[in-house]
């Protein structure tokens, strides 16, 4: 790091005797560490998030005088479903209505299928779900369902035209106009615009604006912001739109993956199947789980169904199911397996950032278990092979070795470090 440290006020913590003093000293002497992999990933993620946020930004010199005109209605569910009554509803920003606004919408916040709050939706508003609730919006000719962690802005709510911006999260859309051809729905995302003439589909937008569309009825048209030609996605199909070209490492990852896909396409006339890194999968499988837990039939069926979807190239659907498993109360080993499949799905689609996040989560879920070590190793391989980030990859391999110095993949980790010019790991060869 080449930055200067900030000037902190040096502090003298009190010397307290007894157990609490020992704990304070222990925490002080062994502060939580931030390794280079995490640091690099967080930095890039912040820069990208702020870039995405930039569309609505105004010059700093004007910030003191001007507040955002859009009304932000934040519907947050706090606590568990049992705490449904504890809902925070806050209205931020300038509440002056715009001239063209029409109160044509109605929203309902639901937790575990119980309606706990409702209200009107009008132009310029932003609705955001919290961690536990989902919001259903009735716009007369369209019904929307906002999943957890979703943020939607209602840009235009007139009868002939509905225009929304999906800022993040997942949106389930059911649009059936009463006068076909005269009423339109358009949804803007960081990656492009989805235009609809009457259909059902699901839109998934990540923090960077990358957009995934899964159409279940009718046809939608995608207009990428990049200026690439518009694409039509029909029922049963899905499409993935990137928000931007990414940086050099992302571009090289995509190029490598496209090359791999071209090779696969050349080998078969079938649609491109899901192809995780087989070499990696085999290596990772070498290390058995210590838990020895057997999956129930239901879990096995669910995992197999997700794998089938991945093989069919239905990544969004597969990931949605796997996320359900990963967030459920099943044994940690199977949650780790679900997260690993999510990571492989993202890898197959060239989304290294999300793949890395999924592997990291898998590793964190099971830090002392071989399944967690495997995920940590897989993360290192991802950084080395797909992100071509040698520094981050080396740090990740070292992290693996620190946690599992005699793990089943320790030899491969040392070989990788030697390959990455970490000469101290070449001694054993």
């Amino acid at each position: 790091m080449n930055s200067r440290p900030p000037h902190h006020t040096m502090r003298v913590p009190p010397q307290v005797d007894g157990g609490s003093g020992v704990i304070a000293r222990e925490l002080r002497e062994q502060p939580p560490a931030l390794d280079e992999v995490r640091r690099a990933r967080m930095e890039r993620s912040l820069a990208q998030a702020w870039r995405m946020h930039g569309a609505a930004r105004v010059p700093l010199s004007r910030l003191r005088m001007q507040r955002p005109s859009a009304r932000v209605l934040w519907v947050a569910s706090i606590g568990s479903a049992a705490a449904g009554g504890l809902l925070a509803l806050s209205l931020l920003g300038d509440s002056a209505p715009t001239a063209s606004r029409m109160g044509v919408g109605h929203f309902e916040l639901r937790i575990d299928d119980a309606a706990v709050q409702s209200g009107a939706v009008s132009e310029g508003q932003v609705l955001e779900t919290g961690e536990h609730g989902r919001i259903e919006v009735d716009l007369q000719i369209a019904r929307l369902q906002l999943s957890r962690g979703t943020r939607v802005r209602f840009d235009r709510l007139s009868e002939p035209e509905l225009r929304l911006s999906l800022l993040k999260g997942r949106l389930d859309v059911d649009f059936h106009p009463s006068r076909k051809g005269e009423q339109h729905l358009a949804i803007e995302t960081g990656a492009g615009r989805v235009q609809v003439v009457g259909t059902r589909f699901v839109l998934d937008v990540d923090a960077l604006g990358n957009t995934e569309v899964q159409v279940s009825e009718g046809v939608v048209e995608l207009l990428p912001r990049s200026g690439a030609p518009a694409r039509r996605v029909a029922a049963g199909e899905h499409a993935y739109l990137r928000a931007d070209d990414g940086d050099e490492s992302e571009r090289s990852v995509r190029a490598a993956i496209e090359q791999k896909l071209r090779t696969l396409e050349g080998a078969t006339a079938e649609p491109v199947p899901f192809q995780p890194d087989m070499d990696l999968s085999q290596m990772v499988d070498l290390e058995p789980s210590a838990s020895g837990q057997r999956p129930s039939r239901a879990i096995t069926r669910k995992l197999e169904a997700a794998r089938r979807l991945l093989r069919q190239g239905r990544h969004a659907d597969a990931r949605a199911r796997l996320r359900g498993l990963a967030e459920s109360g099943i044994a940690v080993r199977f949650r780790v397996e679900a997260l690993t499949l999510i990571a492989e799905s993202y890898t197959a689609q060239g989304d290294v950032l999300h793949a890395a996040k999924a592997y990291r989560r898998a590793a964190e879920l099971s830090p002392g278990d071989p399944a967690g070590h495997n995920a940590r190793f897989a993360l290192a391989r991802l950084l080395e092979r797909y992100a071509h980030d040698e520094v981050a990859a080396a740090a990740a391999y070292k992290h693996y070795l620190a946690r599992a110095p005699r793990g089943a993949l320790a030899v491969q980790a040392r070989q990788a470090l030697c390959r990455l010019d970490q000469s101290e790991f070449c001694k054993d060869r």
């Binding site: 006020t9 157990g19 609490s20 912040l46 010059p59 964190e364 002392g368």
Partner: protein, 190 residues
Amino acid sequence: MTKLQPAKAASDEERELLGRAASGDELAVRELFRTHVTRLHRQAARILGGDDPDVEDVVQQAFLAALDGAAKFDGRSSLSTWLFGITTRRALDAARSRWRRQRWNRLAESVGIGSQSMQPDQGYQLRADAESMLGKLPPEQRMVFVLHDVEGYTFAEISGMTGIGISSLHGRLMAARKRLERMTDGGEHE
């Protein structure tokens, strides 16, 4: 031991860096991040737990909130202190939310039908034990213990960061210490 110094106001350099970052200069965003992330990450990790997957999100949210609210930074404290306060409040919110969500698990564990979380590797045992005990404190007690007894902030500074009154902070610190004493003595199994 380190020497006590008075708190510093923000320098022109810091204000300029924040201004450039908030205006969309990516290099400035990255410099801001690199300069402060270690300390902010440490604070979030202490309040939420070192292995908590939400720590990174909290730190990112804190940076984004600071960039979004750059115009509100008045420069009376250093940029570092201002960012530290934002991170503390965000981490505390996340910890409170988690605490509420997990109350049934705690209840289940206390009556013996749940299981304690997995123990990490031996090499991490000491810190893990300390973190584990810290994790059993309610969020407000944990926060004041970390800020006062671990980081060395005064009650006035913590009050300024969190908006909680000094007498409440004092009471919570005493309760936190007492509870940690009981845990280290083996007298409390939660």
